[in-house]
Symmetry: C2
Subunit: 406 residues, 2 copies
């Protein structure tokens, strides 16, 4: 008992892999010294699904992974490099992405279409293919089951900590595990901006259902985080489902509900981790909009507030500047009556209807002292609601982005 | 001769008022010590036109000035306070704006509907009416013809210099003058964000034509400047035309063309002045997009580039990061082929088609050394073109907006 307790406390349960997966993360030489190559392998044929950036400019690995998902039914691996985005690299870039999948397929003995690929880093420079191919030769010997921490570290760019979450739960009396790793810092925006997420599960889920479940969860998590409004060329979330647990998730079943709820919670944790690590961020902000005419309007209002540099700098300066919040909703394009606006910060009401301020400025500002800010806006116009997550806007954001090449 | 030369050099020709106007700017006590009340008066009945913020939340002076423009044909004055926006102030705010026009009308002996009103500053606090009404009593004695400098200073908020431009030109053998003052710093965006502009001319222009001429010029100047994407509750550009020059501008005439060309140049100078004074700005950036499928697409692309925090921080850091520029156009929503993208900085090509980089990074970065940056993007997709102006994004922007209440 004692031994088990110790061993549990030394393993980070957040990095636990589902059954039938191995992973590794190594330094192959794209970056100066940090890990820059990650590999996740399934021992069994897995179904897969993906959600991709909506940017008109799509990096080679995005185009290739989308093609593989279309052409193939079963997948065995995801290969990822950081430090170079392989974006705006033309035909050569596409061929390089193909070489990455081919070489990975060769070392594990599958077809190249059964490998998915992702890249993140600087745009517009060719991949250092010799380093990457040598890295793929090496990474094979580092593959291990149980833990995904090295892979989580190897996909980081300006991230200051790795993001990994794992959840084990019971369906039909059997254990099912979902594991996820993510990266993303700066440039975070709804619609999948500069964000990579790789999810694995040992449940058995048919391809179309997996796609639908992934989309539902991504829409309410990764697509609800907002750092600065830029949307990148490279982002994707991939999921592999390899059936190793013996649990089958079927369309419309209770098991689907359970699985989807667990996936939502896991992606939400990863998404919040990304926001918390936003470049220069000092505060995590959840924006909640209630009482909009529709949910769609609520999403628009929440995103506009979360994107407003004036709101984000005011929160950074711990200034409960409610005028900027109303003004942001004013240009979000939705219908509402500003005189019915109410604002709550961490459940404390700072503005009542008819622009009545409930607290002296100095007291209202106190509500912004912590590092977790919940900003709730009630429009009192209908029943639509939505939330999203963002971070404050600090001087460091500018410093980091003025010098980092991405 | 010598005396005239001296006297000319001591008058700033940019603040010259047209015939038949007087102006003043004083400190009435809204701000601690800087000027905060401006008045422009026409000796003769003037036609007027305005362009207003598209924010759903419109400040009381915006609502009232729009009403007066609708209800009345001739105008005599514009009264403006800075330091308080009179926005989100409900019925009381509207009554306060009415009191400002009534009191101004009384001291100059006209009807209150013949006075236009504007405010700028903190949102959500009631106007200090006693100070303002006393200020209006006092400002009457400061009215002087010839110069608009004091008024230009009195409308400033976080501006670090006043913006005034004046132009005198010949139509039908007679001198016509246009004068303009503007304020705006931070929060600058197309569609009239936190921007005030007050234009006077001694030409005679019928109301509908004046409105059309103003809209044409504002669309290509004030509505093409982008600082941070926030759009305010208070912005307006007003023009008065009092016929004192004896020159009549008629629809479709050559005189209209001349007048419109002069107004465009004047508003462009004011707009660029606003961008140059963007909070924390160190570089003025003109973004030009050529070869889009339509002019509309070109405007979209130019604005998206100009709004991208990643592009703006890269230029601040003098990093010719062309990937961020392509990525921004990628999420602007327009159709284009990224492989046909070309980029020029201050006329030096840094990117050719097919992602071919023409200069080593260190050399390309040199093109960003100055304080005037022209960033030209050729999409090679069609004949649409557009330009807009913005500034870089510095650490100071965050410092200023984290502490200033607006």
């Amino acid at each position: 008992m004692f031994k088990e307790a110790i061993s549990k406390s030394t393993i980070d349960m957040k990095t636990k892999l589902p059954l039938g997966y191995k992973s590794a993360g190594i330094h192959c030489g794209i970056k100066k010294s940090r890990k820059d190559l990650a590999l996740i392998v399934s021992d069994y044929p897995a179904t897969a699904a993906g959600v991709f950036t909506l940017n008109k400019v799509q990096a080679a690995p995005v185009l290739l992974s989308k093609r593989h998902l279309k052409e193939c039914e079963n997948f065995y691996a995801i290969i990822v490099n950081s430090g170079n985005a392989n974006a705006c690299t033309g035909e050569r870039g596409y061929e390089d992405a193909e070489k990455m999948t081919k070489h990975t397929a060769d070392i594990i003995g599958v077809k190249k279409e059964q490998v998915l690929v992702a890249s993140t880093g600087v745009i517009g420079e060719p991949l250092p293919m010799e380093k990457i191919l040598n890295g793929i030769n090496t990474i094979k010997f580092h593959l291990a089951d149980g833990d995904v921490k090295d892979a989580a570290e190897a996909i980081m760019t300006t991230d200051t900590f790795y993001k990994a979450e794992s959840s084990t739960f019971i369906i039909d009396g059997k254990e099912v595990t979902i594991s996820g790793i993510a990266k993303g810092s700066g440039m975070i925006h709804p619609n999948m901006a500069t964000m990579l997420g790789f999810i694995t599960t040992d449940a058995a889920i048919e391809k179309e259902l997996l796609k639908q479940i992934l989309k539902n969860s991504v829409d309410k998590t990764f697509n609800r985080i907002v750092v600065d409004g830029d949307t990148s060329t490279n982002d994707m979330v991939l999921v592999l489902s390899n059936a190793a647990s013996g649990v089958v998730i079927t369309q419309g079943s209770d098991s689907q509900k359970t699985f989807e709820a667990e996936l939502y919670q896991l992606l939400k944790k990863l998404a919040i981790g990304i926001v918390r690590d936003g470049e220069g961020a000092t505060k995590l902000i959840e924006v909640i909009v209630e009482g909009a005419i529709s949910d769609q309007d609520a999403v628009k209002a929440a995103r506009t507030i979360a994107l407003s540099p004036l709101v984000k700098t005011a929160i950074h300066g711990e200034d409960a500047n409610w005028g900027r919040i109303i003004a942001a909703v004013g240009y979000s394009g939705i219908e509402f009556d500003p005189a019915k606006f109410e604002i709550f910060i961490n459940s404390i009401q700072i503005l009542q209807k008819n622009y009545i301020v409930t607290l002296p400025n100095a007291v209202a500002n106190q509500t912004l002292k912590g590092t977790n800010i919940q900003l709730k806006v009630k429009l009192n116009a209908g029943n639509g609601s939505a939330n999203c997550w963002t971070c404050d806007f600090s001087e460091d954001y500018v410093k980091i982005n003025g010098s980092y090449r991405s």
